[in-house]
């Protein structure tokens, strides 16, 4: 399996916080990530690992340097174009599940795909069921999102992240709030899609054991890359 194509390139990233005083969070961070790899970003709390992920995710645009995803330069793009880019190419999984509570599980899954507008509603529904089935939560499809257990919600969140066949799935401590059984399910899912679908996984975690089982570890300390 060829993994030599860079899907993400970050060059000379510098990032500052201005509150309460000016403080450099990321110092000249550069690396590339190959397509289909399962990468974990680790580091102590305050090392800048989450900040880095949000820069890569295109949601934070206040930085110096350059980020290129899939050959497309994202730095200096307009917010609206970035929103479109996220919708199409990036899936998110957060620590605290973050489903929309007043929508059903199925609707939660369908929203990003409906926004993309690539498929008909019937197709989208079919895809949603397939993803739910893979993650073993298809029987929850018509429940309201806030009626599910934490583990179930996180599995639904992963299914949602996969809906638009994103190039990259990003996780911010996706297992941080889960028991070991559910953590294992999340990890296995990520591992499987990186192998089978050639989708790239970038996961911020502080779980050393979990990180050790990924393809590659990028370690940050005080805003600098000390292991890539």
């Amino acid at each position: 399996m060829s993994t030599s194509v860079p899907v993400l390139e970050a060059t000379h990233i510098n990032k500052y916080f201005f509150e309460p005083t000016k403080f450099q969070v990321l110092k000249d961070v550069s690396f590339t990530i190959e397509r289909g790899s399962f990468v974990s970003i680790v580091g102590k709390s305050g090392s800048g690992k989450s900040t880095l992920m949000y820069l890569l995710s295109t949601m934070d645009t206040d930085y110096e340097g350059e980020i290129i995803v899939n050959g497309e330069r994202l730095t200096d793009k307009k917010q609206k174009e970035l929103a479109r880019f996220r919708n199409e190419n990036i899936g998110f999984v957060f620590q605290f599940h973050f489903l929309l509570p007043e929508f059903s599980v199925l609707q939660n899954l369908m929203l990003p795909a409906q926004k993309l507008g690539r498929w008909s509603d019937e197709e989208i529904e079919q895809r949603a069921y397939n993803h739910l089935k893979t993650l073993g939560v298809e029987d929850q499809a018509n429940k309201l999102a806030n009626k599910l257990s934490g583990g179930q919600q996180q599995r639904v969140a992963i299914a949602r992240a996969l809906m638009n066949d994103p190039l990259i799935v990003m996780g911010d401590e996706p297992t941080g709030n889960l028991d070991s059984v559910n953590s294992e399910i999340v990890f296995d899912t990520f591992h499987r899609i990186s192998r089978e679908q050639q989708q790239t996984i970038i996961m911020v975690t502080h779980d050393e054991d979990l990180a050790a089982r990924t393809d590659r570890i990028i370690e940050l300390k005080d805003g600098e890359v000390i292991r890539a």
Binding site: M59, F96, F98, L100, Q107, P112, Q114, L116
Partner: protein
Amino acid sequence: MKDFSLIFQIARTHLLSRVKQTIVAMLGVTFGISLFIGMVGLMTGLNDFTEELAMTSTPHIHIYNDVAVDRRTILDDSNPDGFNVVHHQKPKDEKQNLKDAFQIVRVIQQDERVLGVAPSVATQVFYNYGPVQLNGSVLGVNILAEDRMFDLRNKLRSGTLEDLLNTNDGLIMGVGLARKLNVQTGDRVTITTPQGYTMKLRVVGTFQMGMGAIDDVRSYANITTVQKIMQKDNQYITDINVKLKDQSEAESIAVMYQRLFGYRSVGWEEANATLIIGNIFRNILTYTVSITLLTVAGFGIYNILNMTIYNKMKDIAILKAMGFSAQDVTQIFLTQSIIIGLLGSLAGLMLGYLLAYGISKVPFDAGDVVNLTSLPVNFSITYYIIGIVFGMLTTSLAGYLPARKAGKVDPIEILRG
């Protein structure tokens, strides 16, 4: 369009997930609009009623000889450059008639803007009722021309217009006056002019204009009858009434006639200035109260939407992470306020209609002053359109500000916790 149906779906889910709040926000708009409809209906109903009332007694243009016109003294003629003071100048003993009145009538008849013109001769009289003398007036008219002007036929309570034409000593008397004199159709009544001429006339009919100021004092007679009791010739005319095709032109045409004929010429708006002022005040009141109500409703929506957005920060962040743009998020919340505004306004129109209907059924006894049994209410569709447009405008505006704020929410701060 696909995007919009998605945004609409999200907005609808948000609204339905907190029905109580949605209904409270809607009720604010509903009450605002319904009170506007009720108030504007009553106020314009009153305006229309007073205007109609004015029209029953006032011609579009009234031409008469105004005796009080200042005149130059002889001193001014003989010493034009001097500073002349004449104390206690008295009016000349002038005839109160319009000279060449029938000539004026013919000229006015040629005017394309005129629908009808009616000459008349009016005099003050005393109606003798036993020892009591009631002050009043007799108006000598061509009764058929007067009918075209004021629709007299429908205001008759007894007798017919033709009955008057067929006599030379007939009267059609106001109902209030007839009641005071205790006379009925067919009875004879004695009148005395200020000059002391006395004559017996026969009541051939009664009329009711719906205004005490007329019904209690006026009688109609033929022109020749009045000329006779005034002991004047058959060219003696004191007033010319003109009815126009478009009543809004009255003021400008009146000015023209005054210049043309040299007699005082008054449009109905000037003659009813107090009524018109009343209308303006009522309009100001209506719109002030309505704007206040809708502004309050707007603030209600603003508040509720602000609160909603504060509670939905997390959801907004997720939507943005999913790839919804700031514009999409703004549209989601703006759509919510527009839905609230639309449904609230529609409910307001219906409630407003019921309110106006209720008001129109309130019994109202104005006594002899005006002929009214219940409050007059205007149900014109115009005000319902104004109501919904106004309702939608305020809610959109009130919704736009918080919605724009929602679009500007920075997702990272929220997602990082």
